[in-house]
Amino acid sequence: MTDLAPLLTATDLRRSVEGRLLFEGLSFSLAPGQRLMVVGPSGSGKSLLLRQLAGLDPLESGSITFRGTSQEAWALPAFRAGVMLLPQRAALGAGVTVQEVLAQPFNLKAHAGRTLDVPQARQLAQALGRGPEFLALDSVTLSGGEGQLVALLRALLLSPTVLLLDEATSALDPDTTARAEAVLSEWCATGVTA
């Protein structure tokens, strides 16, 4: 796998907050099928690194390249549709039912021409241990863990190329965490889910 051209490359990234340096000279390269884990204590800048990778914060130094094109040269909505960050506490946005929450981003220009594949959504929900009634639930009444699950489902259904997960299973119970990890492993290995 290592001989594949890298999908996402970061070179010499740097981040400071109010004069305090969090990291510098940070570089990595990610090929298709590869997984990369970022470990560090609280407040060490893991989430801020992910925000830079997703183009949410401007770079202080260095560069990020996706599919051979610098982040600078990408239209960021298209970039983010390819390199998708799933934040720790993802907002579910507009939509009454879970299915509406899952369908909403397909209205964005970046996903034009695509619609929510409801059977695939059901299949994925099942793989995560939820029955078919899960899609009909009122999104306001979801627990923290269920909300995190919906956000993970939504990201997977948008089929990004690179998925950046910021503690994506922090609110899930051990059983659901194991299921989520299995789904993610399969997605990573084959590029398809469920």
């Binding site: 997703a54 183009g55 949410l56 934040p87 907002a91 964005l108 220009k109 948008l158």
Partner: protein, 280 residues
């Protein structure tokens, strides 16, 4: 005293009568003292401030009316707009650096455009700068725009602050800055227009508008007073729409960069505001 003024009869109010009505402020001050609202000082300051402002304006208007020149009319209009922008941009809790400029542009754009249209196209005043018409009409439109611009800007900046996760969540899913900001912008513009829409709904039933009341008290026929009021309300509705849309669009361009990023670090909370100036 009853004074006969050409087209009708109006009551002349002497200074001692104004002073007597000012004594009514004591009612609110007394209530504040009794209920420990801590508003006594504020009511007194607001009352004195308003009195000084209005007396000064009376003097300045008399002077401008006598001049019959366009330049002083435009100048007084600009000063009024500056003060309006100042009042409007002081209101939001979260502000950014060019909020005053943006408020000025939104208030100036909506007020001058609509005052010009009203004077030249609707009322057909000759000359257009006739201060007896130009100054009060601009004043009413400005007063309305201030509220709309302040409410629109306040709602948009406060929402960006409170709903940051939602906005950035949309950006992360691939939304453009417009797509991500649109729901907040719609809410903010609606908020800015709400007072005008509310007052239109109850006008004539619950409330008799101040301008109409004033005209009737000054001896104008009710029908004519109603026609004036209708023209003004349509103009005010347009000005609040333009004003709040204007300031929200300008704030949007300041707080989202052209790389579809939310730049919330440009929005700072005001820390110097005195607690006493925030009732409730």
């Amino acid at each position: 005293m009853v004074r006969d003024g050409g087209d009708g009869v109006s009551l002349h109010i002497a200074l001692w009568q104004v002073a007597a009505s000012a004594a009514l402020l004591l009612v609110s001050i007394g209530l504040s003292w009794w209920l420990k609202l801590g508003l006594g000082r504020e009511i007194l300051v607001a009352g004195v401030r308003m009195t000084v402002q209005l007396l000064l304006v009376g003097l300045i208007l008399a002077w401008v009316f006598a001049l019959k020149q366009p330049l002083p009319v435009v100048a007084i209009g600009l000063v009024m707009t500056l003060l309006a922008a100042q009042a409007s941009s002081a209101r939001p809790k979260y502000r950014y650096r060019s909020l005053f400029l943006d408020s000025f542009v939104a208030i100036f754009g909506s007020s001058f455009l609509l005052t010009g249209l009203t004077l030249s196209a609707v009322l057909r005043i000759h000359p257009w700068f006739e201060p007896q018409y130009a100054v009060p009409i601009l004043g009413m439109i400005l007063g309305n725009s201030v509220t709309s611009v302040a409410l629109g800007a306040e709602r948009f900046t406060a929402d960006l602050h409170a709903r940051r996760g939602e906005v950035e969540g949309q950006l992360l899913l691939g939304a453009t800055r417009w797509e991500a900001a649109h729901p907040l912008m719609a809410t903010a513009v609606k908020t800015g227009m709400l007072p005008t829409l509310n007052s239109m709904t109850v006008m004539g039933i619950v409330s008799l508008p101040g301008m109409m009341t004033g005209q009737i008290l000054a001896g104008e026929s009710p029908q004519n007073a109603v026609h004036y009021q209708l023209v003004m309300m349509f103009v005010l509705a347009a000005s609040s729409a333009l004003g709040s849309l204007g300031v929200v669009l300008l704030a949007y361009h300041r707080l989202f960069d052209n790389r579809d990023r939310l730049r919330l670090e440009r929005l700072g909370a005001e820390r110097l505001r005195k607690p006493a100036s925030r009732p409730g």
